[in-house]
Symmetry: C2
Subunit: 491 residues, 2 copies
Amino acid sequence: MSKGLPKRSDDYSAWYNELVKRADLAENSAVRGCMVIKPYGFSIWEKMQRTLDDMFKETGHVNAYFPLFIPKSYLSKEADHVEGFAKECAVVTHYRLKNAEDGSGVVVDPEAKLEEELIVRPTSETVIWNTYKNWIQSYRDLPILCNQWANVVRWEMRTRLFLRTAEFLWQEGHTAHATKQEAIDETKLILDIYADFAEKTLGVPVIKGVKTEQERFAGAVDTYCIEALMQDGKALQAGTSHFLGQNFAKAFDVKFADKEGKLEMVWGTSWGVSTRLMGALIMAHSDDQGLVLPPQLAPIQVVIVPIFRKDEEFEKISAEADRIVKELKAKGISVKYDNRTTHKPGFKFAEWELKGVPVRIGIGPKDLEKGTVEVARRDTLTKEFVQAEGVETYVENLLAEIQENIYNKAKTYRDEHITKVDTWDEFKDVLKNKGGFISAHWDGTNETEDKIKDLTKATIRCIPLDAEDEDGVCVLTGKPSKRRVLFAKAY
Amino acid sequence: MSKGLPKRSDDYSAWYNELVKRADLAENSAVRGCMVIKPYGFSIWEKMQRTLDDMFKETGHVNAYFPLFIPKSYLSKEADHVEGFAKECAVVTHYRLKNAEDGSGVVVDPEAKLEEELIVRPTSETVIWNTYKNWIQSYRDLPILCNQWANVVRWEMRTRLFLRTAEFLWQEGHTAHATKQEAIDETKLILDIYADFAEKTLGVPVIKGVKTEQERFAGAVDTYCIEALMQDGKALQAGTSHFLGQNFAKAFDVKFADKEGKLEMVWGTSWGVSTRLMGALIMAHSDDQGLVLPPQLAPIQVVIVPIFRKDEEFEKISAEADRIVKELKAKGISVKYDNRTTHKPGFKFAEWELKGVPVRIGIGPKDLEKGTVEVARRDTLTKEFVQAEGVETYVENLLAEIQENIYNKAKTYRDEHITKVDTWDEFKDVLKNKGGFISAHWDGTNETEDKIKDLTKATIRCIPLDAEDEDGVCVLTGKPSKRRVLFAKAY
């Protein structure tokens, strides 16, 4: 099954692409840049959605749904916003097809041209703030704390499954507040939720930071982000939370009457994570045998594989397997008994390894005699014999341990790949030979940021929120700097 | 709050439109025909989704996600299908905007024209069967039982919130099978799931039937449906399940090797329900005071309203309310304590009536003295005093009773509005003066079906699955007929 999966050390990119396909996570569709998320991959995404959605709701957010289409003129109302999205958007111009007169099939009906073109939403700030205008009159209508789970389209030229696709799935939160401070607090609250979710559910350690002016969301005053590190030493932006100031309120004229009856502009935030997180999950943990899934997101947490030659052995093993399945399910653990007689145990082992099932239980005739089972861990690829009686408690603890171990392993790697650098030669050397985050001083100018990018392809991932004040000089220009920022090559 | 809600008897249509807006369910967006589903409305839809999704999964279905866009040429591959959808579809022709040279804003960039136009999916059979082609080689790959929750677009000229919108949300199941019988069984299984869901969760009684040839889904061999009746005597198609035969397999060349290695065409089904169900829910139960929600779908099942004059009364009532909230939550009942001091009880009563909260508990100073609370039912608009001690058990039973009563009430109305008719005069009379379903003989021809529609606007809603063989003559033409079908005016 995993035969021929490229090795990470040989070709990380090919390894990723093949893994996504072979583990049945996703595939390219016939539509350029659009993916099909296959059932196994989608069930992981559903678990992410459920967990995040619960976190949003616990903090007072509600879901709603806004239109897929955005009138072209709306995009233009916020100057930076249109600049950021106009170059890569799908444009609906007609609303009907008709039969071609030469019988060659259907063609666009020129008579069904829209008066104003519609853009398939690349993000929904404009259409939502246009709606909020009618929802907000007084301070009593605030805050509004809406989220939506939706598909969005950005016409990317180079696409990769999950990491960059023309259509992707995401959640986008859009909140409106009476005060600047409240909006900033919301932006940070969401950043904390994202970071908790990434670390505790995905098992992916992240650095919280703020983007430079050039890397900001088009239309934001500040963009906060969480940045993760993949096993090839490249960074991946895993979520963003934007403080929008009053930019969209101004663009759509959204005002409220405060307690004194004075009209004020509303403050806003927006924030999102997408199916890109699937890419982060895969690249942070998986190995040359296939996926490694944290138990909290694994569609199947435990698989039981019978090992037998004779039918009577199979029957006895199945009875024991059924017993264990029942015990595990009673603990809320998702378990599959792989009783296919069409495949050998070795094939099954490889298949479930490829698919990242955290725990595999093997049961053979000798196990029945001894009252044991063989428990294999996907994360460490180790196994041991365990008493069959009470194995459900053992597995329950093991799943928690695996969840923790996966995180710790990724964190150790990440921590070892944050390198403080003070000279340009060092910068280039670390980037080339080690990868990861480079913590270096930067003079704060767009020019230097651009130049470093041109020279090395490294970008400023973020100014970490916990960065300490430290006098230094810019690694490229030698100009003074007050704190270090994090550079990396990135997805 | 509910002041000015039109009466159903005066103007049913205006009543519906106003109710949808005032109860905060949905509103029209600035994009023609596209709606905004507001948080309160969306939370009802989320409950529908969750319940249905669980039912699909219990019967072996899995979720996946397929692209939003369909290449124009795909639509044409199934002749009936393109005929059915080409006339009302949103067409993406370009992938970029640019700044207008005269500085007037952004315009479509003519250089960014797509080689082949993309259709925003009106339904996904074509793109999914094109994908299944690669998933299916042998009988071992079957059945495929996929569902997706998605948005779709059909460019309807006349739209109404929830009932008919250009963009709507739905689930679409697409299954592939090795045998005809298995596909038919799947089609019927889903129809049963839809009917159960409509009756037990929405509290809306439905008739299961099969559509006439003309009312069939474009590309189906048979379309099964559930038909509901609204309070104005009009029918509403609440869900459809299609037996596709081998139509899409043939169009996309999807074959499998059977156990003997012989290549066969795959059999298919597709099935869906949409946000239209929100319209059915609203119109089946609600009254002139506002929404009436079945407890299983109510975002708030119980609201507690304090009735007081003095602050010290408010404090004591709040303590008692908090106690009851805790008891109700422990039973899994969603409850809100409306402790706003900015609004009077009468205002609150009207507001929660408008929003359809099934149970309202009122607590005043006298209740505290007597150890009682006042419990009001939304469905019957009746109220009674109940011992405060143990009110949570009373409410739990009451919610179940309300769920049942709402269904029974709708069923009584529906049953009273199925009228057997044997003459054309009777047909017209019932349609005009009573409404509802008319059970009548039909000669089985498209011509007669069309003529009846032209003359009366009534359509054949379905041939009920439980229709008995009965010799008769067509109500219009007098030609022989073997069974009755159901006619009605419909949404």
